[in-house]
Amino acid sequence: MITSFLMKSLDRSILVVVAILLGLAILVPALNLLTAPDHPLHVPTYLVSLFGKYLTYALLALALDLVWGFCGILSLGHAAFFALGGYAMGMYLMRQIGARGSYGNPLLPDFMVFLNWKELPWFWYGFDMFWFAALMVVLVPGLLAFVFGWFAFRSRVNGVYLSIITQAMTYALLLAFFRNDMGFGGNNGLTDFKDILGFNIQADGTRATLFAVSALILALCLILTSAIVRSKYGKVLVAVRDAESRTRFLGYRVEHIKLFAFTVSAMMAGIAGALYVPQVGIINPGEFEPGNSIEVVIWTAVGGRGTLIGPIVGAILVNGGKSIFTAAFPEFWLFALGGLFVLVTLFLPKGVVGTASAYFARRRAERRAQTGETPDNLAVEPIAAE
């Protein structure tokens, strides 16, 4: 059952992207570790980390696309799920520092020592074990999404209202994590990590591995989402997006349908956050900023929502652009970024991938019309107007 469920996901375009990701997972670390720094094909460690970061962003965008693109839930809370996953990982990394902190305290992280905390708060227990932290990475965002979604979907909070209350949730979490009394390091967050699973976090090998793991997990999540979207459940999701009350009158429990997608999506966002933290070396409440959630929406929109490849492409394009512009035009890059958002919404409502695939689908249809072939399924569903 599971295999047939997963097999269904592997249509051509998904296979290609998965293959590219797997290729990158091998190629980039290889070029980084095995070639000399002056070799023309050498990938510097700087770029490995940078691309690793993009991949985690891509995973976050993919997670958002599952709920927004396919179910019409515009969540402005995905930055929160991402950050929670990141914090779970960060707490593990903090505990790994052990007695190597500035004060040499074997139990307490530095920020607790100099603020005179006497003992480790209860919610830090267990995070010295990787399996526990890994569990929390999916459980905490998943549980939050489940509880939040259970209330919200049951009360039929919809559309803009849902967006606004997810934003309120993110904002409340932002404020909460800012508080030093919470025991998460306040504004500074968690930083100064030393190693992960015993490997030095700054070593080239670790960075290359983290990149490979990010690519691998992104590929896995892509297959998973693709399987979800292409199952009957996925069709129900789109049905909910397009005509919620019709779905309800057909006897589907729309709140359950939404809740499942929302929870899975939050878990994926949490995993993205957990992969992100060791690669950038810091997690702090800034990740909860409501603006971050909106940015994720924009990556997805730029790439093309309702397509699975779109958000991946969008996240990489926008962040790549941001990396380049913040260095090349430090004073003016915001104009470029802002302009991009306006132009994409105006002229590319389906996003880059959506527009491209619509164009190719038309071409194929024309060719078919000439040769009289039978139609095959479209790789990408078009987006219905809201």
């Binding site: 004060y103 530095d110 800034g286």
Partner: protein, 430 residues
């Protein structure tokens, strides 16, 4: 097929453009200096000025012939008040642009974010802002004030000159105010202040509704003892705070407020007439009357082509840090990190308040501490000054866990957290 082509195309384009772009910055015969200050986002308000100040300093140095016979070249990036982006940009500056030193950061969190990068890539950061201490890192030089160079002298002044007996410690809820207030609380109690005479209050960033807190301060101040507010309120929140103080009639003569994060830049956004007499503690004021400062202000106004631009303490910190770096590079004869790190310690350069500042083995510098009162024109008037220079104390003596720690980056100790009680490097030791 087609989708594959478009996707791979897009991805390759992104990869190529990044690398190609970075290639364009390949090294030539200039010495590069990285400037890592936010030009957008919430911190742009403070940090943009420092970027301009650095560009001016580099410009001036090039007019004087550059360094080691080469021109200096500034590399400016925008980390956009986004802390992980600070780390990314720091990495880019060091490993792609190959800068010899970086001047940057404002918030503690941005510094914490880039620390591992400078450590890993072995490069140099000059950090120009007053901060909470509790840190000493091999690759970082702290040219702003440690708590003992700002907070403690300010409290001493209030106790001696205004006979303050009751204290409100009001701050934004982040690590600098938290640590400073912990240190101050311990210090005040050691001076015989009763715990019930200390009120501590934290507010979020950008807090704009100060009605309740100001009225609480008034109430706290009406207990018959002379009361003062020690404010570690951060940047943006200060303007509404001072406006509320002025409107509720809290006068400096009754309840003086001494601030550690309010400088000339922040006051530029305020009508300061109702605030005359409130205090700030810094290591530099624009009003300092020395020839060096007059020259600096003149150059600054000319460089920014704006007669109203003000100077402030972190700018002076960059001025000192930059000159120290120049001197150390000249002494070492190279920009090689290890050589410069060794050469830095003991370097002494004139500061803008008429003395010399020296880089100490703990990577902090010596500075005078000035207490100034706000004037009607948005400037400060120095009302008190430490008799000599104060050495920055990275590990506070008033926190139980750090009082045994010292830092000395000279060989053979070369340790940022040496414990004098156990005689080991690395905090308490286990």
């Amino acid at each position: 097929m087609n989708i594959k082509a478009s996707v791979t195309g897009a991805f390759l384009a992104a990869v190529l453009s990044t690398t190609a772009f970075n290639g364009a910055f390949a090294a030539d015969d200039t010495i590069k200096v990285g400037i890592l200050h936010s030009l957008s986002g919430t911190m742009a308000i403070s940090e943009t000025t420092l970027k301009d100040a650095m560009l001016m300093l580099i410009d001036e140095q090039n007019k004087k012939g550059g360094l080691l016979g080469k021109k200096l070249e500034a590399v400016v990036v925008d980390p956009a008040s986004d802390w992980p982006l600070f780390a990314e940009k720091a990495r880019e500056l060091v490993s792609v642009d190959k800068v010899s030193a970086v001047f940057g950061c404002w918030t503690s969190v941005s510094r914490k974010s880039v620390l591992p990068v400078f450590e890993e890539l072995n490069s140099i950061l000059f950090y120009p802002v007053q901060y909470e201490g509790e840190e000493s890192q091999r690759n970082v030089f702290y040219t702003g004030a440690a708590p003992n160079q700002q907070a403690i002298p300010a409290v001493d002044y209030l106790m001696a000159n205004e006979s303050v007996e009751r204290w409100v410690l009001a701050g934004t809820d982040y690590v600098y105010p938290r640590t400073t207030n912990k240190i101050l609380e311990a210090y005040l109690i050691s001076k015989g202040v009763k715990p019930e005479d200390i009120m501590i209050n934290y507010t979020p960033f950008g807090h704009s509704d100060w009605q309740t807190i100001v009225s609480d301060i008034k109430k706290f101040g009406s207990a018959g003892k002379k009361t003062a507010v020690v404010s570690t309120i951060n940047g943006d929140a200060n303007v509404p705070f001072y406006k509320e103080l002025a409107n509720q009639g809290v006068k400096a003569e009754d309840i003086p407020v001494v601030a550690f994060s309010v400088g000339e830049e922040e006051l530029a956004g305020l009508d300061t007439t109702p605030l005359v007499g409130h205090l700030a503690a810094w290591n530099y004021f624009q009003s300092v009357d020395t020839p060096a400062n007059a020259e600096f202000i003149k150059t600054w106004k000319a460089y920014t082509k704006n007669d109203k631009r003000v100077t402030n303490d972190p700018m002076e910190a960059h001025y000192i840090g930059f000159n120290m770096w120049l001197k150390a590079v000249e002494k070492a004869g190279t920009t090689d990190t290890d050589a410069v790190l060794d050469a830095m310690i003991g370097v002494s350069v004139p500061n803008l308040s008429g003395g010399y500042s020296t880089m100490m083995p703990n990577h902090h510098i010596t500075k005078p501490v000035l207490i100034g009162e706000i004037q009607g024109d948005g400037q400060f008037e120095t009302v008190w000054e430490t008799p000599g220079l104060v050495v920055g104390d990275e590990w506070s003596d008033y926190l139980p866990d750090s009082k045994d720690l010292i830092s000395d980056w000279r060989a053979p100790m070369s340790c940022g957290n040496f414990n004098v009680a156990t005689g080991k490097c690395g905090g308490k030791g286990s």
